[in-house]
Point group: D2
Amino acid sequence: MMDSLHEHAVTPRTDAEKKAMTNRLKRIEGQVRGIQKMIDEDRYCVDILVQISAINSALKRVGFEVTERHVKHCVSDAVKSGEGEEAIDELMDVLNQMTK
Amino acid sequence: MMDSLHEHAVTPRTDAEKKAMTNRLKRIEGQVRGIQKMIDEDRYCVDILVQISAINSALKRVGFEVTERHVKHCVSDAVKSGEGEEAIDELMDVLNQMTK
Amino acid sequence: MMDSLHEHAVTPRTDAEKKAMTNRLKRIEGQVRGIQKMIDEDRYCVDILVQISAINSALKRVGFEVTERHVKHCVSDAVKSGEGEEAIDELMDVLNQMTK
Amino acid sequence: MMDSLHEHAVTPRTDAEKKAMTNRLKRIEGQVRGIQKMIDEDRYCVDILVQISAINSALKRVGFEVTERHVKHCVSDAVKSGEGEEAIDELMDVLNQMTK
Protein backbone atom coordinates (compact mmCIF):
# COMPACT_ATOMS: atom_id res chain seq x y z
CA MET A 1 0.00 0.00 0.00
CA MET A 2 1.35 3.37 -1.04
CA ASP A 3 1.56 6.21 1.40
CA SER A 4 -0.11 8.97 -0.57
CA LEU A 5 1.16 12.55 -0.84
CA HIS A 6 -2.00 14.24 0.43
CA GLU A 7 -5.06 13.56 2.52
CA HIS A 8 -7.43 15.75 0.59
CA ALA A 9 -7.92 16.83 -3.02
CA VAL A 10 -5.55 19.78 -3.54
CA THR A 11 -8.24 21.77 -5.33
CA PRO A 12 -11.46 21.00 -3.43
CA ARG A 13 -14.22 19.37 -5.51
CA THR A 14 -17.16 21.69 -6.18
CA ASP A 15 -20.64 20.70 -5.02
CA ALA A 16 -21.60 20.02 -8.64
CA GLU A 17 -18.59 17.72 -9.07
CA LYS A 18 -19.41 15.87 -5.87
CA LYS A 19 -23.05 15.46 -6.87
CA ALA A 20 -22.25 14.14 -10.34
CA MET A 21 -19.77 11.62 -8.93
CA THR A 22 -22.13 10.53 -6.15
CA ASN A 23 -24.93 9.93 -8.65
CA ARG A 24 -22.72 7.70 -10.74
CA LEU A 25 -21.56 5.76 -7.70
CA LYS A 26 -25.13 5.31 -6.49
CA ARG A 27 -26.00 3.85 -9.88
CA ILE A 28 -23.04 1.45 -9.61
CA GLU A 29 -24.15 0.50 -6.09
CA GLY A 30 -27.60 -0.28 -7.51
CA GLN A 31 -26.02 -2.43 -10.22
CA VAL A 32 -24.10 -4.42 -7.59
CA ARG A 33 -27.33 -4.97 -5.66
CA GLY A 34 -28.92 -6.05 -8.95
CA ILE A 35 -26.38 -8.85 -9.25
CA GLN A 36 -27.18 -10.02 -5.71
CA LYS A 37 -30.80 -10.32 -6.82
CA MET A 38 -29.78 -12.24 -9.94
CA ILE A 39 -27.79 -14.70 -7.82
CA ASP A 40 -30.73 -15.06 -5.45
CA GLU A 41 -33.10 -15.77 -8.37
CA ASP A 42 -30.57 -18.26 -9.75
CA ARG A 43 -30.31 -16.40 -13.03
CA TYR A 44 -28.26 -17.61 -15.99
CA CYS A 45 -24.47 -17.18 -15.57
CA VAL A 46 -24.00 -15.37 -18.88
CA ASP A 47 -26.57 -12.70 -17.96
CA ILE A 48 -24.74 -12.16 -14.67
CA LEU A 49 -21.40 -11.85 -16.50
CA VAL A 50 -22.86 -9.23 -18.83
CA GLN A 51 -23.93 -7.21 -15.78
CA ILE A 52 -20.53 -7.57 -14.10
CA SER A 53 -18.94 -6.38 -17.29
CA ALA A 54 -21.24 -3.31 -17.32
CA ILE A 55 -20.23 -2.44 -13.74
CA ASN A 56 -16.56 -2.77 -14.63
CA SER A 57 -17.00 -0.33 -17.52
CA ALA A 58 -18.87 2.14 -15.30
CA LEU A 59 -16.17 1.92 -12.61
CA LYS A 60 -13.48 2.38 -15.24
CA ARG A 61 -15.13 5.59 -16.40
CA VAL A 62 -15.30 6.88 -12.81
CA GLY A 63 -11.62 6.02 -12.32
CA PHE A 64 -10.78 7.73 -15.56
CA GLU A 65 -12.44 10.97 -14.49
CA VAL A 66 -10.78 10.90 -11.08
CA THR A 67 -7.44 10.41 -12.84
CA GLU A 68 -8.09 13.25 -15.28
CA ARG A 69 -8.99 15.67 -12.50
CA HIS A 70 -5.96 14.50 -10.52
CA VAL A 71 -3.58 15.21 -13.41
CA LYS A 72 -5.20 18.56 -14.23
CA HIS A 73 -5.11 19.79 -10.64
CA CYS A 74 -2.84 17.95 -8.20
CA VAL A 75 -0.10 16.83 -10.61
CA SER A 76 -0.07 20.09 -12.59
CA ASP A 77 0.14 22.17 -9.41
CA ALA A 78 3.02 20.01 -8.18
CA VAL A 79 4.87 20.40 -11.50
CA LYS A 80 4.41 24.18 -11.43
CA SER A 81 5.78 24.44 -7.89
CA GLY A 82 8.80 22.27 -8.73
CA GLU A 83 7.56 19.14 -6.94
CA GLY A 84 6.51 17.29 -10.06
CA GLU A 85 8.81 14.29 -9.65
CA GLU A 86 7.11 12.92 -6.54
CA ALA A 87 3.60 13.56 -7.86
CA ILE A 88 4.39 11.85 -11.19
CA ASP A 89 5.92 8.82 -9.46
CA GLU A 90 2.77 8.51 -7.39
CA LEU A 91 0.60 8.87 -10.51
CA MET A 92 2.55 6.16 -12.36
CA ASP A 93 2.28 3.81 -9.36
CA VAL A 94 -1.48 4.12 -9.25
CA LEU A 95 -1.85 3.81 -13.04
CA ASN A 96 0.24 0.65 -12.86
CA GLN A 97 -1.96 -0.75 -10.13
CA MET A 98 -5.14 0.15 -12.02
CA THR A 99 -4.10 -1.63 -15.21
CA LYS A 100 -2.89 -4.79 -13.51
CA MET B 1 -27.02 -7.15 -26.42
CA MET B 2 -26.89 -10.89 -26.72
CA ASP B 3 -30.00 -12.97 -26.34
CA SER B 4 -28.79 -15.59 -23.89
CA LEU B 5 -29.44 -19.31 -24.21
CA HIS B 6 -31.12 -19.76 -20.83
CA GLU B 7 -32.99 -17.79 -18.21
CA HIS B 8 -31.71 -19.71 -15.24
CA ALA B 9 -28.52 -21.49 -14.22
CA VAL B 10 -28.74 -24.97 -15.74
CA THR B 11 -27.54 -26.58 -12.51
CA PRO B 12 -29.20 -24.55 -9.73
CA ARG B 13 -26.81 -22.82 -7.33
CA THR B 14 -26.76 -24.40 -3.86
CA ASP B 15 -27.66 -22.28 -0.83
CA ALA B 16 -23.99 -22.30 0.19
CA GLU B 17 -22.95 -21.04 -3.25
CA LYS B 18 -25.57 -18.29 -3.16
CA LYS B 19 -24.53 -17.24 0.33
CA ALA B 20 -20.82 -17.07 -0.51
CA MET B 21 -21.53 -15.02 -3.64
CA THR B 22 -23.95 -12.69 -1.83
CA ASN B 23 -21.41 -12.02 0.91
CA ARG B 24 -18.78 -11.03 -1.66
CA LEU B 25 -21.22 -8.78 -3.47
CA LYS B 26 -22.30 -7.13 -0.21
CA ARG B 27 -18.66 -6.38 0.51
CA ILE B 28 -18.28 -4.83 -2.95
CA GLU B 29 -21.44 -2.80 -2.38
CA GLY B 30 -19.89 -1.51 0.86
CA GLN B 31 -16.69 -0.60 -0.99
CA VAL B 32 -18.70 1.42 -3.54
CA ARG B 33 -20.44 3.25 -0.69
CA GLY B 34 -17.01 3.86 0.82
CA ILE B 35 -15.97 5.72 -2.31
CA GLN B 36 -19.09 7.92 -2.08
CA LYS B 37 -17.97 8.84 1.41
CA MET B 38 -14.45 9.61 0.18
CA ILE B 39 -15.86 11.91 -2.51
CA ASP B 40 -18.06 13.59 0.08
CA GLU B 41 -15.09 14.14 2.40
CA ASP B 42 -13.10 15.46 -0.56
CA ARG B 43 -10.41 12.84 -0.11
CA TYR B 44 -7.22 12.70 -2.16
CA CYS B 45 -7.70 11.42 -5.75
CA VAL B 46 -4.97 8.80 -5.51
CA ASP B 47 -6.56 7.20 -2.43
CA ILE B 48 -9.87 7.05 -4.31
CA LEU B 49 -8.16 5.44 -7.32
CA VAL B 50 -6.60 2.78 -5.08
CA GLN B 51 -10.08 1.93 -3.78
CA ILE B 52 -11.59 1.81 -7.28
CA SER B 53 -8.79 -0.51 -8.29
CA ALA B 54 -9.59 -2.78 -5.31
CA ILE B 55 -13.26 -2.96 -6.33
CA ASN B 56 -12.28 -3.83 -9.89
CA SER B 57 -10.13 -6.71 -8.64
CA ALA B 58 -12.93 -7.97 -6.40
CA LEU B 59 -15.45 -7.81 -9.25
CA LYS B 60 -13.01 -9.58 -11.55
CA ARG B 61 -12.73 -12.43 -9.07
CA VAL B 62 -16.51 -12.71 -8.85
CA GLY B 63 -16.76 -12.73 -12.65
CA PHE B 64 -14.06 -15.35 -12.80
CA GLU B 65 -15.94 -17.68 -10.47
CA VAL B 66 -19.20 -17.21 -12.33
CA THR B 67 -17.34 -18.05 -15.56
CA GLU B 68 -15.73 -21.13 -14.04
CA ARG B 69 -19.04 -22.46 -12.77
CA HIS B 70 -20.63 -21.67 -16.14
CA VAL B 71 -18.00 -23.68 -18.05
CA LYS B 72 -18.09 -26.57 -15.57
CA HIS B 73 -21.88 -26.88 -15.64
CA CYS B 74 -23.75 -25.14 -18.47
CA VAL B 75 -21.09 -25.41 -21.20
CA SER B 76 -20.04 -28.95 -20.26
CA ASP B 77 -23.65 -30.15 -20.19
CA ALA B 78 -24.28 -28.60 -23.60
CA VAL B 79 -21.16 -30.25 -25.03
CA LYS B 80 -22.21 -33.63 -23.65
CA SER B 81 -25.68 -33.37 -25.18
CA GLY B 82 -24.27 -32.34 -28.56
CA GLU B 83 -25.20 -28.65 -28.28
CA GLY B 84 -21.72 -27.41 -27.49
CA GLU B 85 -21.32 -25.12 -30.50
CA GLU B 86 -23.98 -22.63 -29.44
CA ALA B 87 -22.90 -22.64 -25.80
CA ILE B 88 -19.25 -22.06 -26.74
CA ASP B 89 -20.12 -19.20 -29.10
CA GLU B 90 -22.05 -17.58 -26.28
CA LEU B 91 -19.14 -18.11 -23.87
CA MET B 92 -16.66 -16.56 -26.29
CA ASP B 93 -18.94 -13.54 -26.83
CA VAL B 94 -19.16 -12.83 -23.13
CA LEU B 95 -15.42 -13.39 -22.58
CA ASN B 96 -14.75 -10.95 -25.40
CA GLN B 97 -17.05 -8.38 -23.82
CA MET B 98 -15.48 -8.87 -20.38
CA THR B 99 -11.93 -8.26 -21.61
CA LYS B 100 -12.74 -5.19 -23.68
CA MET C 1 4.50 -22.03 -15.00
CA MET C 2 1.77 -24.57 -15.57
CA ASP C 3 2.53 -28.02 -16.78
CA SER C 4 0.13 -28.28 -19.69
CA LEU C 5 -2.01 -31.28 -20.47
CA HIS C 6 -0.74 -31.82 -24.00
CA GLU C 7 2.23 -31.07 -26.20
CA HIS C 8 0.31 -30.65 -29.40
CA ALA C 9 -3.08 -29.38 -30.50
CA VAL C 10 -5.46 -32.29 -30.02
CA THR C 11 -7.09 -31.66 -33.40
CA PRO C 12 -4.18 -30.69 -35.70
CA ARG C 13 -4.44 -27.20 -37.25
CA THR C 14 -5.19 -27.28 -40.97
CA ASP C 15 -2.74 -25.64 -43.39
CA ALA C 16 -5.25 -22.85 -43.96
CA GLU C 17 -5.50 -22.22 -40.21
CA LYS C 18 -1.73 -22.18 -39.86
CA LYS C 19 -1.35 -19.79 -42.77
CA ALA C 20 -3.99 -17.35 -41.50
CA MET C 21 -2.41 -17.33 -38.03
CA THR C 22 1.13 -16.94 -39.40
CA ASN C 23 0.08 -13.98 -41.54
CA ARG C 24 -1.38 -12.21 -38.54
CA LEU C 25 1.71 -12.89 -36.46
CA LYS C 26 3.97 -11.64 -39.25
CA ARG C 27 1.98 -8.42 -39.32
CA ILE C 28 2.38 -8.06 -35.54
CA GLU C 29 6.11 -8.74 -35.89
CA GLY C 30 6.25 -5.92 -38.45
CA GLN C 31 4.41 -3.61 -36.06
CA VAL C 32 6.95 -4.35 -33.32
CA ARG C 33 9.79 -3.55 -35.75
CA GLY C 34 7.91 -0.36 -36.63
CA ILE C 35 8.13 0.76 -33.02
CA GLN C 36 11.88 0.11 -32.97
CA LYS C 37 12.13 2.48 -35.95
CA MET C 38 10.01 5.07 -34.16
CA ILE C 39 12.30 4.90 -31.12
CA ASP C 40 15.33 5.20 -33.37
CA GLU C 41 13.86 8.27 -35.10
CA ASP C 42 13.01 9.73 -31.69
CA ARG C 43 9.34 9.95 -32.53
CA TYR C 44 6.74 11.51 -30.25
CA CYS C 45 5.82 9.33 -27.23
CA VAL C 46 2.07 9.52 -27.85
CA ASP C 47 2.45 8.20 -31.40
CA ILE C 48 4.48 5.30 -30.03
CA LEU C 49 1.82 4.59 -27.40
CA VAL C 50 -0.89 4.51 -30.08
CA GLN C 51 1.15 1.89 -31.96
CA ILE C 52 1.75 -0.20 -28.83
CA SER C 53 -1.97 -0.09 -28.17
CA ALA C 54 -2.64 -1.34 -31.73
CA ILE C 55 -0.27 -4.28 -31.23
CA ASN C 56 -1.96 -5.16 -27.96
CA SER C 57 -5.35 -5.25 -29.68
CA ALA C 58 -3.98 -7.42 -32.51
CA LEU C 59 -2.39 -9.83 -30.02
CA LYS C 60 -5.59 -9.95 -28.04
CA ARG C 61 -7.50 -10.99 -31.15
CA VAL C 62 -4.96 -13.73 -31.87
CA GLY C 63 -5.23 -14.96 -28.27
CA PHE C 64 -8.98 -14.88 -28.54
CA GLU C 65 -8.99 -17.11 -31.62
CA VAL C 66 -6.54 -19.55 -30.07
CA THR C 67 -8.81 -19.72 -27.01
CA GLU C 68 -11.92 -20.25 -29.12
CA ARG C 69 -10.33 -23.10 -31.07
CA HIS C 70 -9.03 -24.58 -27.82
CA VAL C 71 -12.50 -24.64 -26.25
CA LYS C 72 -14.16 -25.96 -29.41
CA HIS C 73 -11.67 -28.79 -29.86
CA CYS C 74 -9.45 -29.69 -26.90
CA VAL C 75 -11.82 -28.78 -24.05
CA SER C 76 -14.94 -30.17 -25.78
CA ASP C 77 -13.18 -33.44 -26.59
CA ALA C 78 -12.05 -33.76 -22.99
CA VAL C 79 -15.57 -33.10 -21.70
CA LYS C 80 -17.01 -35.71 -24.07
CA SER C 81 -14.53 -38.34 -22.92
CA GLY C 82 -15.20 -37.60 -19.25
CA GLU C 83 -11.96 -35.72 -18.62
CA GLY C 84 -13.48 -32.26 -18.65
CA GLU C 85 -12.53 -31.27 -15.10
CA GLU C 86 -8.77 -31.15 -15.75
CA ALA C 87 -9.16 -29.40 -19.11
CA ILE C 88 -11.47 -26.76 -17.64
CA ASP C 89 -9.14 -26.11 -14.70
CA GLU C 90 -6.31 -25.59 -17.18
CA LEU C 91 -8.49 -23.27 -19.29
CA MET C 92 -9.47 -21.17 -16.28
CA ASP C 93 -5.82 -20.89 -15.20
CA VAL C 94 -4.75 -19.55 -18.56
CA LEU C 95 -7.74 -17.18 -18.81
CA ASN C 96 -6.85 -15.86 -15.38
CA GLN C 97 -3.26 -15.31 -16.45
CA MET C 98 -4.33 -13.58 -19.68
CA THR C 99 -6.58 -11.08 -17.94
CA LYS C 100 -4.14 -10.16 -15.18
CA MET D 1 -7.01 8.70 -34.82
CA MET D 2 -5.68 11.60 -32.82
CA ASP D 3 -3.59 14.25 -34.41
CA SER D 4 -0.73 14.39 -31.96
CA LEU D 5 0.81 17.57 -30.58
CA HIS D 6 4.39 16.85 -31.68
CA GLU D 7 6.32 14.85 -34.23
CA HIS D 8 9.30 14.14 -32.03
CA ALA D 9 10.01 13.55 -28.37
CA VAL D 10 10.29 17.01 -26.82
CA THR D 11 13.39 15.99 -24.85
CA PRO D 12 15.38 13.76 -27.25
CA ARG D 13 15.95 10.20 -26.05
CA THR D 14 19.57 9.53 -25.07
CA ASP D 15 21.50 6.77 -26.87
CA ALA D 16 21.31 4.66 -23.70
CA GLU D 17 17.53 5.09 -23.57
CA LYS D 18 17.19 4.16 -27.23
CA LYS D 19 19.38 1.12 -26.81
CA ALA D 20 17.52 -0.18 -23.75
CA MET D 21 14.18 0.26 -25.51
CA THR D 22 15.42 -1.35 -28.73
CA ASN D 23 16.71 -4.37 -26.83
CA ARG D 24 13.34 -4.90 -25.18
CA LEU D 25 11.51 -4.55 -28.48
CA LYS D 26 13.90 -7.00 -30.17
CA ARG D 27 13.12 -9.50 -27.43
CA ILE D 28 9.40 -8.99 -28.01
CA GLU D 29 9.92 -9.42 -31.76
CA GLY D 30 11.67 -12.71 -31.02
CA GLN D 31 8.76 -13.81 -28.83
CA VAL D 32 6.30 -13.09 -31.65
CA ARG D 33 8.46 -15.18 -34.03
CA GLY D 34 8.49 -17.90 -31.38
CA ILE D 35 4.70 -18.08 -31.55
CA GLN D 36 4.84 -18.46 -35.34
CA LYS D 37 7.09 -21.45 -34.79
CA MET D 38 4.70 -22.90 -32.22
CA ILE D 39 1.81 -22.57 -34.68
CA ASP D 40 3.93 -24.20 -37.37
CA GLU D 41 4.81 -27.11 -35.06
CA ASP D 42 1.13 -27.40 -34.12
CA ARG D 43 1.86 -26.89 -30.45
CA TYR D 44 -0.77 -27.08 -27.73
CA CYS D 45 -3.12 -24.07 -27.58
CA VAL D 46 -2.58 -23.42 -23.87
CA ASP D 47 1.19 -23.17 -24.32
CA ILE D 48 0.63 -20.65 -27.10
CA LEU D 49 -1.73 -18.64 -24.89
CA VAL D 50 0.86 -18.54 -22.11
CA GLN D 51 3.36 -17.08 -24.59
CA ILE D 52 0.86 -14.51 -25.91
CA SER D 53 0.20 -13.49 -22.34
CA ALA D 54 3.95 -13.03 -21.75
CA ILE D 55 4.23 -10.77 -24.81
CA ASN D 56 1.30 -8.70 -23.63
CA SER D 57 2.98 -8.17 -20.27
CA ALA D 58 6.25 -7.21 -21.91
CA LEU D 59 4.49 -4.75 -24.23
CA LYS D 60 2.59 -3.30 -21.30
CA ARG D 61 5.86 -2.62 -19.49
CA VAL D 62 7.28 -0.89 -22.56
CA GLY D 63 4.11 1.21 -22.87
CA PHE D 64 4.32 2.05 -19.21
CA GLU D 65 7.88 3.35 -19.54
CA VAL D 66 7.04 5.39 -22.61
CA THR D 67 4.11 6.90 -20.68
CA GLU D 68 6.26 7.66 -17.65
CA ARG D 69 8.90 9.43 -19.77
CA HIS D 70 6.15 11.29 -21.61
CA VAL D 71 4.61 12.62 -18.39
CA LYS D 72 8.00 13.50 -16.88
CA HIS D 73 9.20 15.39 -19.96
CA CYS D 74 6.58 16.38 -22.52
CA VAL D 75 3.58 16.88 -20.22
CA SER D 76 5.60 18.53 -17.43
CA ASP D 77 7.24 20.95 -19.88
CA ALA D 78 3.85 21.84 -21.33
CA VAL D 79 2.43 22.46 -17.84
CA LYS D 80 5.37 24.68 -16.92
CA SER D 81 4.97 26.78 -20.05
CA GLY D 82 1.22 27.19 -19.48
CA GLU D 83 0.15 24.73 -22.22
CA GLY D 84 -0.74 21.90 -19.87
CA GLU D 85 -4.41 21.61 -20.81
CA GLU D 86 -3.80 20.37 -24.36
CA ALA D 87 -1.01 17.99 -23.30
CA ILE D 88 -3.13 16.50 -20.52
CA ASP D 89 -6.12 16.02 -22.83
CA GLU D 90 -3.86 14.18 -25.25
CA LEU D 91 -2.42 12.06 -22.42
CA MET D 92 -5.88 11.10 -21.17
CA ASP D 93 -6.98 10.17 -24.70
CA VAL D 94 -4.07 7.80 -25.16
CA LEU D 95 -4.46 6.30 -21.66
CA ASN D 96 -8.11 5.70 -22.45
CA GLN D 97 -7.21 3.98 -25.71
CA MET D 98 -4.54 1.86 -24.01
CA THR D 99 -6.88 0.54 -21.33
CA LYS D 100 -9.75 -0.27 -23.67
